[in-house]
Symmetry: C2
Subunit: 225 residues, 2 copies
């Protein structure tokens, strides 16, 4: 998915992308961690400011190098708004539920990326096509070259945005619960219940021409997290 991996900008956390809690403990502000979270995630949550209040909606995305791509209908209000100010994109992988000996130490194991910035609308047709390919290939690797390309009309009805990944942070919690020393002798069980995202068997569309087999890029796809 990454085509410009050789030239990478270091993450440049700003106050709002720098964690105020657990600094040095749960944050890992390096490119590899950010890339891993973004490439493993399925949907992001896009936060925009509409009529003075935040609006958060899920959407698919794709990453190429230091750029995150988003797309949507030209009629989608949140994308129109996204072009007029800063947005926040959050991608979260939930890895497990942390059972502690004390109720206030229950927690989640997770990997989370948070990106701030002002998206730019892509207008160059080649750039737009590249971004759409990156988004579709992120959601469905191997699919782009096997499906009908966009028509001019479809492209005209689609807004494509790019968001620079410079102002971003990654936060991770992993491992055992963090119980108080004084609770360690408790007879309450403590540990982690892992959560995994897996794929089920492909369901062929009811209106598919009979005889078309599930292609290898679908059949052999592995779990995303």
């Amino acid at each position: 998915m990454t085509t410009s991996a050789d030239i990478r900008t270091p993450l440049s956390p700003t106050p709002r992308s720098t964690l105020t809690r657990y600094r040095g403990q749960r944050d890992a502000t390096d490119r590899a961690a950010l890339d891993a979270v973004l490439d493993t995630g399925t949907v992001c949550h896009l936060g925009v400011l509409m009529h003075g209040a935040p609006v958060v909606v899920p959407t698919i995305y794709g990453r190429d190098g230091d750029t995150l791509y988003l797309h949507g209908s030209t009629g989608a209000g949140n994308l129109r708004t996204a072009m007029t100010g800063d947005v926040c994109v959050s991608v979260t992988l939930v890895d497990g539920i942390v059972y502690a000996r004390a109720v206030m130490h229950f927690s989640m194991n997770y990997r989370s990326a948070v990106i701030h910035g002002r998206p730019v609308e892509l207008t160059d047709q080649d750039e737009r096509l590249h971004a759409l390919r990156v988004i579709v290939e992120h959601a469905a690797p191997g699919a782009w070259d096997n499906a009908r390309p966009p028509t001019k009309k479809e492209l005209a009805a689609t807004t494509v945005l790019s968001l620079d990944l410079t102002e971003a942070s990654v936060k991770t919690r992993a491992g055992d619960p963090s119980d108080d020393e004084s609770d360690l002798a408790s007879d309450t069980w403590a540990g982690v219940l892992p959560i995994r995202q897996t794929f089920g068997d492909p369901i062929t569309s009811a209106d598919l021409t009979p005889g078309i087999a599930v292609p290898e890029h679908v059949r052999t796809r592995n779990a995303t997290s």
Copy 2:
């Protein structure tokens, strides 16, 4: 989890909680759909306005009747900010990847709840304890009564917020791809690759007193979606 299910307010969508696209097709503004998404989800994405821009972070939550509860450290900037203005909470269940015959029709199957409102900080100790129980029981059903209750010091270090579920919307996509009539005879496979969230085997904390078995409420837990 619901203790006040008998008295329910109907959803009251406002312009910002009403879908501008696919109206009547993908929105299902009824309580049962909202409750189902919130009760099935593991984390929500909380969007707040900080320094004039949206900030979106994942956090656990719980629902009781028409109220969503959130909590965090008193030192968490996003919770402090959440009390001073409107927030948006989004819970998304990703159900599958929709493979279409045309690249622009690729999509996700999902169930998504979006809630708008101004959170209220809970100050009454009984209400705070109830909210914390709802949050912990949402993340780990059966856990609250088996773990050490909060101390006064722990409670003093915790912010607990309630958010009314009146201004909310649910959006769902399910089923086959929506290809154009003219693409139906294509020889490209079309269908859905289901995504499921499942639990792995419990991992006991390394520092647990030997001999404590994994309790039934952990061992027998089913997948969340």
